[in-house]
């Protein structure tokens, strides 16, 4: 998967390239709009991460020009969070939108979602290690023992398993499970995970729900 990052701030550009490469993507970095547009048109990318406030040719113009040529998903980065800007970005066909300062983890999650869009199909039954989750029957067992979960706990576990191996940030979890789309400055997610762990992990030796420091939580067989 190849990603083009167009970002004029040197430090931001460098860490985005480094971080995304470490997340397993092939990354090219353009430091201005004109170069970026040229690269987007010349080479084959799967996604463009685009800063809106670029000197010379700005992000909107780049996106417009690039999308005329290719059907390319665009993720905008911006320090401006006015509603008008947001609407403009989405009208221009921005597939997603992140306001600076954003969390890098969040960015990787959004990229992953954008790239995966339309590819995955929901499984009915998941089996990870000794845990089994039946999505249709709303049933969870571990080592054959039935585990009773509340509705929210089940949704939380389902989300973690569906995106196993991915570190999910607290805001993503809050948004997916409770539809809370703002940062509420609370440890609601931590408390919910703690309860889930008490039922899923505590009675067993092998731990499946892992804390990813300063990011969030991840469901994984590997410790």
């Amino acid at each position: 998967m190849a990603i083009l990052v167009i970002e004029d701030d040197p430090k931001t550009g460098d860490y985005l390239r480094k971080g995304l490469r470490e997340s397993g993507y092939a990354v090219d970095l353009a430091r201005n709009g004109a170069d970026g547009l040229h690269m987007a048109l010349e080479q084959d990318y799967d996604l463009v991460v685009l800063d809106v406030m670029l000197p010379g040719l700005d992000g909107w113009q780049v996106a417009l020009a690039a999308q005329c040529a290719h059907d390319l998903p665009v993720l905008f980065l911006t320090a401006r969070d006015h509603v008008d800007d947001r609407i403009r970005g989405l009208q221009l066909g921005a597939d997603d939108y992140l306001v600076k300062p954003f969390s890098f983890t969040e960015l990787v999650l959004r990229i992953r979602t954008l790239l995966r869009r339309g590819v995955t199909r929901e499984a009915e039954v998941y089996e990870i290690a000794d845990l089994q989750l039946d999505h249709v029957r709303h049933k969870v067992t571990r080592q054959g023992v039935n585990i009773a979960l509340t509705n929210k706990e089940f949704m939380l576990l389902h989300l973690l398993i569906k995106r196993q191996g991915e570190a999910l940030s607290r805001s993503v979890i809050a948004s997916q499970i409770w539809d809370m789309n703002f940062d509420s400055d609370t440890n609601v997610v931590d408390v919910a995970i703690k309860r889930l762990r008490a039922k899923i992990d505590a009675p067993f030796d092998k731990k499946l729900i892992h804390t990813v420091r300063s990011v969030g939580y991840m469901f994984s067989e590997e410790p």
Partner: protein, 475 residues
């Protein structure tokens, strides 16, 4: 120290009013002077006429008592000296002949006159006027008189030269002009002094106002002893100062708090990064520092985001898109969300809700969440949080009540202030930055609604939100 009063260009009120005063007085006094001059001139003229008429009648009577004209011709000096003034004119002649007595030192030419017939008395109407070369008025009369019983008739031509009157009028005019000038100067001067004295409170006011600076905002204008008009000015000015002082204090408090809230995490970031770089450390230690840095940065980022939100809300730049939302459903969602953390503190929710609310969904959730979080954080453990919501024609009301320690009225009044925290020691509590309720207030203002806090019963605290109905919302 008070700054010097700035020099004010243009005319002062005092000079302006004084000048107007002087102008007005000079107009009135000049008018009066003209009137006096005219009436004095008329009076003198009447007196002169009377004198002339009297003399001519006297001549007539005298001549009637004579026997014939010759007696007159023989004693011209007698008749010549019978007028009061050397300038006056006396001419006696037989009709159509040269005068036999003539006293006319200035050689005045009489105007064309028809002599008054014998027997008809001389009156003012029969007088004529001419002017001497130097502009002095001369009154003329011509009358016929019988001499003795011989049937002789003599024409008397007499003139009164108003020399004395002219002289009197001249000096009188000078006196009027002098008096008028003095009156103008005097009124202007008195006006100036009175105005200066009358406007003294204004001067005092301006000096007082010059002393008011940002460091010295508590000074107020004196209202005692002020004229009513100025007292009103002072009152409104003082009221404005009250508002400014409160705003200024608020701003100072806000920037102080802001500096504290932002500097603390930056200080931690800088300090611990520098310490970490001071020597080689194990990967675990580096990880720990980075992790802590991320936490601090998240805190900073939240503060910045909240402040930006408040700044935007202050300028009402946010277009609020409203939808009708179901109160029971939405409150259910929120209590669902916070159920876990409430349970940790042994608290539970009691929700009674019905109806709809016109609001922006995301903002509504943020507002209500902030109140519920507060209730969970600061409410008494093992208690129930009551949430009530209802709507009527005027809008909808949401109330969040919880048991708490008693809160002073003063603390309640400040609760919605930015960075206000009931307990200063809570600044260690990274979850809260004291902006939650300020945001509640800002969001309610954006919706044209209100937020309030009260103490419904001892040991209870209640936050209530009032959203206006769709009809009341200005589009």
């Amino acid at each position: 120290m008070s700054p010097p009063t700035p020099a004010v260009g243009g005319w002062t009120l005092t000079t302006r009013v004084t000048a107007l005063f002087a102008l007005m007085t000079s107009l009135v006094v000049t008018g009066l002077g003209f009137y006096l001059d005219r009436s004095a001139g008329q009076a003198l003229s009447q007196r002169a006429d009377q004198a002339l008429i009297g003399r001519v009648e006297h001549f007539r009577n005298l001549m009637h008592d004579l026997y014939n004209v010759e007696q007159m011709e023989q004693r011209p000096a007698l008749f010549e000296s019978m007028m009061g003034n050397e300038q006056d004119v006396r001419i006696f002649r037989r009709q159509g002949e040269a005068p036999f007595i003539q006293s006319n030192p200035d050689h005045l030419v009489p105007p064309a006159m028809t002599p008054l017939p014998v027997g008809s008395p001389v009156s003012s109407a029969s007088l004529r006027t001419s002017q001497r070369a130097d502009g002095v008025r001369v009154r003329w009369v011509s009358a016929l008189a019988d001499v003795g019983k011989g049937g002789d008739t003599v024409e008397i031509v007499a003139a009164y030269v108003m020399v004395q009157e002219a002289r009197m009028m001249r000096s009188y005019r000078w006196r009027i002009a002098g008096a008028a000038a003095a009156a103008v100067v005097l009124t202007a001067l008195l006006g100036f002094l009175l105005l200066r004295r009358g406007l003294q409170p204004l001067e005092a006011m301006s000096q007082r106002a010059a002393q008011i600076t940002p460091d010295h905002l508590s000074a107020r204008l004196d209202q005692e002893g002020m004229p009513a008009e100025l007292r009103r000015v002072a009152l409104s000015f003082n009221a404005m100062l009250d508002r400014l002082e409160a705003g200024y204090a608020h701003l100072a408090q806000f920037s102080g708090d802001l500096a504290h809230e932002i500097r603390t995490p930056i200080n931690v970031l800088m300090g611990q990064s520098q310490v970490a770089l001071g020597q080689r450390r194990s990967p675990e230690e580096y990880e720990q520092v980075l992790e802590s840095n991320v936490e601090e940065l998240q805190r900073l980022s939240r503060i910045v985001e909240n402040i930006l939100f408040l700044a935007q809300a202050d300028h009402a730049a946010l277009a609020v898109e409203r939808n009708a939302l179901d109160l029971a459903e939405e409150l259910g969602r929120i209590t669902d969300y916070f159920e876990g953390i409430a349970d940790e503190r042994g608290m539970r929710f009691d929700v009674q809700a019905a109806g709809q609310c016109q609001a922006n969904l995301i903002m509504w959730r943020r507002v209500v969440s902030n109140l519920v979080i507060n209730a969970v954080r600061y409410g008494r453990a093992e208690s129930t949080i009551r949430i009530l919501a209802e709507s009527d024609g005027e809008g909808s009301r949401i109330m969040v009540e919880n048991r708490s320690e008693d809160v002073t009225a003063q603390a309640m009044a400040r609760m919605f202030d930015r960075f206000y925290r009931g307990d200063r020691s809570r600044s260690a509590f990274t979850e809260s930055n004291g902006l939650g309720l300020a945001i509640v207030k800002a969001i309610m203002a954006l919706h044209g609604g209100t937020a309030a806090v009260e103490c419904p019963a001892p040991g209870w605290i209640r936050f209530s939100l009032r959203f206006p109905s769709a009809a009341a919302v200005p589009s």
